[in-house]
Symmetry: C2
Subunit: 401 residues, 2 copies
């Protein structure tokens, strides 16, 4: 297939890890006979420097036209003056919002080879395989903010519709997995959380009788994520809680540098349509709200010989790590695995996605670790890790479904 | 000395663990020749059942009159109908607010004997000794809440004065410890956090040049708390972040059942006066804002032959654990150590506090564990653990200062 991928390297180690991910995707294209086009665009601090805007209109427009977006990271000390009019993070938030990407999937599946680097005891980690579905375009991130001489405020608000769509997404994902959803809130204190709990319970009961739903308070979740991580399958929560819990969950994997993410919406129209968790879903399951299952995808693509694609934004969950930027030592695995999620969720290329994941696993198994995973041993550079993955992609002859 | 202690057992395992803590405090009174009076009052679910109010006015009034308050836990499934007009947690929140207890201290110092129960690798935990100072009467917990057919909202707001006083508290505490404060916020997204960061930086720079202050984003804190817990001394943060981070931090100790907390204000008047972190502080340091250092304390006590006391609320950080309530198996250590904090912070009885802490340490060292710490071994009941602590309090002949 042909696909246009917008690449937003951003700041700090962003350019290094996206370069590694692009190299891997190019190897995939070569091996599986696809044609991927990669077009770079500015976002974050570098976009402030070049355009005076952390999300220049040209970048947003290019992302809207693309089949998928691959992003590095944004931010850095030179742009973090609290009194600055614009901040790099605003670019990322505006992009998520502008593309309607309300569901942020953060899978955590610790690899046996990297358990040594995790602060959590290894016996708790074997078999851990969870995905956090974080609501990404609502909550306190996007509510009205005020500032006066005496104080400041941030409004956290959620509409019923915002909760419904992300909970649906989590339930659909759970169906493709082990069928269990844990909805996280603070319903004993927050009104938004009481609404969240009600809506989650109703959606699960009325639309997903085959999925089991459990409610958990966010404080207790922060604890159980560590004490019994195997108990979780899909965890769905609001924006701020998801931000905190996914960074915490990254410690199950050994290094935050290993973890990818996918941010998904309902496709190009912005209207809720079908389950876009992955292409298998639309084919195997009835559309969950009774509407047609394909209108969100790029129908014109079908006409010009492409497969249908679903817009998504793919980024490692780590930040811009300014302290190690430019030294070629950043862990590219989170970015590379984000590329795998891009293949799966936006392009519907499951075999290709699995191939990348397998190659990464084989690379880790071979002990090719970046400095975050091998603090005292011989560490591989960003490029070496990418090369090792590419070598294995090229070598893997039969790709299991 | 004589002291009146209001006891609020609350719900679930609350009555069991407070009974254990009271027994221990009685042993302390006997051994050190004090006269403590314990008066029980209703709060939470049981107060709803008996008075139709999770914080009956009589309970609040009794707490205001007392020298200190010892609380168990509130809440349970029978009171958690989301549509209920009143909820047990409201009683606790109203009590914290009503007594002006804006600084919640949650010390975490893993004991060598319980590291086996922690999900964190033991080598990361030796030497960990941190205190989270959580802002307790502001933020999204107490902001305006709205609900409509379409959605809901919670307002998070902070005044400059609210941030100043809790940051001061954290800095004073740090002076008595290793002199390092980590202020946690989400300044790259929230306006309240940007204000928090500014105010924290100013207070530290202008008033505590001897304390080092570091800022950390809450998501990254959730990670570093696990990967390098030894790096932290005092962590200060807003209400919601503190709620999540302290439950997470409890996993460093092995079981949430081990952890105590102290909630402190500025004393009886409610006006900010002196540093009440502990009695040593007022004696050793100049009052931080230049005002007199004692007006917050109960001056009348001096006249009737008592030492001065400072109001505080002491509670284990665990919840009401309805699943194990009434079975005599709950871990009373968090409640007992809360009693030690009461002796230290409200009554100024440092030697007595240290004695309790020493007795608890010796009990754990002897392998007397409740079921949460000894899931497969022979577990001691709530009363047995308390008895073991009391035995050691009685036996300890010389109490180190
Ligand atoms: C950079 C920041 C705005 C962002 C967020 O809080 O969403 C980051 O922490 C993340 O998790 O992607
Ligand atoms: C019971 C609940 C309201 C409370 C809180 O969130 O403050 C509890 O979780 C705590 O940490 O003391």
């Amino acid at each position: 297939m042909r696909a246009d991928i917008a690449v937003l390297p951003g700041d700090g180690i962003g350019p290094e890890v996206t370069a590694a991910a692009v190299a891997v995707l190019q190897a995939v294209a070569h091996r599986f006979r696809h044609a991927f086009d990669f077009a770079p665009h500015d976002i974050g601090g570098i976009a402030i420097d070049r355009h005076g805007d952390p999300l220049p209109p040209s970048t947003l427009a290019a992302c809207r036209r693309a089949d998928a977006v691959l992003l590095g990271a944004v931010g850095g000390p030179q742009w973090s003056d609290p009194n600055a009019r614009v901040r790099p993070e605003q670019g990322l938030l505006a992009l998520r919002k502008g593309l309607g990407l309300y569901a942020n999937l953060r899978p955590v599946r610790p690899h046996p080879a990297t358990l040594g680097a995790a602060p959590i005891k290894a016996h708790l980690l074997s078999g851990v395989d969870l995905v956090v579905v974080r609501e990404l375009t609502g909550g306190i991130y996007f509510g009205e903010k005020t500032r006066s001489a005496d104080g400041a405020s941030d409004l956290c608000s959620y509409s019923v519709a915002e909760i419904e769509r992300v909970v649906r997404r989590a339930c659909v994902l759970a169906r493709l997995r082990r069928g269990h959803v844990t909805s996280v809130d603070k319903a004993n204190v927050l009104e938004t959380s009481r609404l969240w709990r009600e809506v989650a319970a109703r959606i699960a009961r009325d639309e997903f009788p085959d999925v089991t739903l459990e409610h958990q308070l966010v404080d207790s979740m922060a604890m159980h994520l560590l004490s019994k991580p195997r108990a979780y399958d899909v965890i769905v929560t609001e924006n701020m809680f998801g931000d905190i819990l996914t960074d915490e969950a990254s410690m199950l994997a050994g290094s935050m540098g290993l973890l990818p993410s996918a941010s998904l919406g309902d496709g190009r129209s912005g209207a809720p349509t079908h389950c876009p968790i992955d292409s298998a879903c639309a084919a195997e399951r009835p559309a969950m709200d009774g509407r047609a299952g394909v209108s969100a995808s790029r129908e014109s693509d079908a006409r010009d010989g492409r497969r249908q694609t679903t817009m998504g934004l793919y980024e490692p969950i780590h930040g811009s790590a300014p302290d190690i930027a430019g030294r070629g030592i950043a862990n590219p695995v989170g970015a590379i695995l984000s590329g795998a999620l891009l293949l799966r969720h936006s392009l519907g290329l499951e075999a290709e996605a699995a191939c990348v994941e397998q190659a990464v696993a084989a690379t880790l198994e071979a002990g090719v670790f970046s400095a975050d995973l091998a603090p005292n041993g011989r560490a591989a550079g960003t490029g070496e890790v990418a090369d090792a993955v590419i070598e294995r992609i090229t070598a893997i002859s039969r790709v299991p479904e």
